[in-house]
């Protein structure tokens, strides 16, 4: 059980989302970095779609109230427990009361903290993900605040889950591969890095750079869209849609980021740069297959971490 001392920039409860309500306007939502969420869960023996904390940027701090087994995946936000470094892509037994702090941003944007058993909140529309615009899911549909208490559902023999290590994290090169949509890829998308604007959120990354002009994109009635779609509003500044994007939209679509690179998109923050590259259908499918295989790898036991944890215990 954890108590939030400080949520940092943004901390929400997320799982893998609610795919079955898009026809009534409810986005799938869920973790921005789905592979990291899955890996954090697998490290502590949870089903891949158990609810985790999605911790965005540095500054989050928690008090561990009762012993628990946790795992960290995704961004390295300088996690420490009682002052000692807590490794990313590994699980650990937090056996005492003490402070769990995320004090620095060494790499990435979003860290996923899984608790053995999964975070215990009531599912809404079949998922525990927080959908902030709709104010439902997670903890009362809102961001976590100081004083909130997070508890896990019961886990079987959790101590055996400590000291496990993920053998191979996903590749987080800051480059996102694109496929065209309906017309050739606009060369301007590929010509230079794009700055992630402060207006970005879980709905989409708003990218700033020299405005893109496309030849009279046809006016379209709203159609189905999904994370990875790149829209071009009239101001010429592209929007790369992410987890909480609406299921339908009417802006012209100028490119599609491949599914296997969406975890890279989840690990940038306003002020960072994002690079786009052209890819092919075959490469996109190969990358998806490789990511799928990576998420199916067996968890490794790290005796060093387990022994160190035991020695501290």
């Amino acid at each position: 059980m954890l108590r939030v001392i400080s949520p940092g920039a943004l901390c929400t409860i997320q799982d893998l989302g609610r795919p079955s309500y898009r026809h009534i306007g409810v986005p799938v939502g869920g973790a921005m970095d789905r592979p990291a969420c899955v890996i954090a869960n697998r490290l502590v023996g949870n089903p891949p779609d158990a609810a985790c904390l999605e911790i965005t940027g540095p500054g989050a701090m928690f008090e561990v109230l009762t012993p628990c087994v946790v795992a960290l995946a995704g961004a390295d936000l300088g996690a420490t427990f009682r002052g000692r470094a807590l490794p990313t892509w590994a699980s650990a037994h937090l056996a005492h009361r003490g402070e769990l702090a995320f004090e620095g941003r060494r790499w990435g944007a979003r860290a996923y903290l899984a608790l053995a058993g999964g975070i215990d909140v009531a599912p809404v529309l079949g998922a525990r993900s927080t959908y902030l615009p709709g104010e439902f899911g997670g903890l009362n549909g809102r961001v976590l605040r100081a004083g909130d208490v997070i508890s896990a559902q019961p886990a079987r023999d959790p101590a055996r889950l400590a000291g496990r290590v993920w053998p191979k994290p996903p590749d987080y090169a800051p480059q996102v591969r694109l496929l065209p949509f309906d017309q050739p890829l606009p060369a301007a998308l590929l010509a230079h890095p794009w700055q992630v604007s402060a207006a970005s959120n879980r709905i989409g990354l708003r990218l700033t750079g020299p405005p893109i002009k496309v030849d009279a994109p046809p006016a379209l009635d709203s159609f189905g869209i999904f994370p990875g779609v790149i829209q071009l509003p009239p101001d010429g500044q592209p929007i790369l849609l992410t987890a909480d994007a609406q299921p339908t939209g009417g802006y012209p679509v100028i490119a599609i980021a491949i599914q296997a690179d969406l975890h890279r998109v989840a690990q940038v923050l306003p002020g960072d740069a994002l690079y786009f590259a052209r890819t092919t259908h075959g490469e996109a499918v190969d990358a998806w297959r490789a990511l799928h295989a990576l998420l199916a790898l067996p968890v490794e036991e790290d005796e060093g971490i387990a022994l160190a944890a035991a020695a501290r215990g």
């Binding site: 026809h23 409810v26 189905g224 339908t248 599609i256 980021a257």
Partner: protein
């Protein structure tokens, strides 16, 4: 000549768009295609299109396009099933009512009479959970969006824009013309079903004086 364009949308999706000029026909076709494909794929019908998502490790893009085209080839003429009719009581006192009537060259009474004259189809739910795109409206009720969107539109606002009428399910930013207000709750995630309206339903607006 086919009335459809089938376009790959990345490595794991295909968009099938019906190009019929008549929005009501195109929408009925899109829903019929979505139903036909729903057993095999993850489908999302919209105003005149169906998004088909698939796992490229299970199906190739060519297989999916072939399946979509095969279903298009056997689609019956647009489905004219009568959807269930949902009555929506409206207080026609929205802040844009007289301005919208003026822009349409109608009296306020004539606008209300046209809006309540017949049931309209729920063509799509989008923009926000439970937000229905209802129509298609005749030219006499077709207005472009407001030049300046409002940062917040109250829940229950009944609105017009771009050949559709819609109802704001929650307090949201919005650029539609607000002509009235309903007390019905369009979306409640704790309710079953959560959305009052489903695509394919028909909506009959009725004047509510309360």
């Amino acid at each position: 000549m086919s009335d459809w364009r089938v376009i790959p949308m990345g490595e794991a999706a295909v968009l099938a768009e019906c190009t019929l000029a008549d929005v009501a026909m195109a929408n009925a076709q899109a829903h019929a295609l979505a139903s036909a494909l729903a057993a095999a794929f993850d489908v999302l019908p919209a105003i005149r299109s169906v998004l088909v998502r698939f796992d490229p490790l299970c199906n190739t893009l060519d297989q999916v396009i072939a399946s979509v085209n095969a279903q298009i080839a056997t689609l019956d003429p647009p489905d004219v099933r009568e959807g269930r009719i949902i009555e929506i009581p409206v207080r026609y006192q929205g802040p844009d009512l007289s301005d919208a009537a003026h822009q349409l060259g109608l009296s306020v009474e004539a606008l209300i009479r046209l809006h309540t004259a017949q049931p309209w189809r729920v063509l799509m739910i989008g923009f926000a959970p439970g937000f229905p795109y209802i129509g298609p409206l005749p030219a006499a009720l077709t207005l472009p969006r407001r030049a300046t969107p409002r940062p917040a539109v109250p829940a229950g606002s009944v609105a017009l824009a771009a050949g559709f009428t819609g109802i704001y399910p929650a307090r949201l930013p919005g650029g539609w013309h607000l002509i009235g207000q309903t007390d019905l709750v369009l979306f409640d995630p704790q309710r079953t079903p959560p959305a009052l309206l489903q695509p394919g339903d028909r909506v009959q607006f009725i004047v509510c004086c309360a």
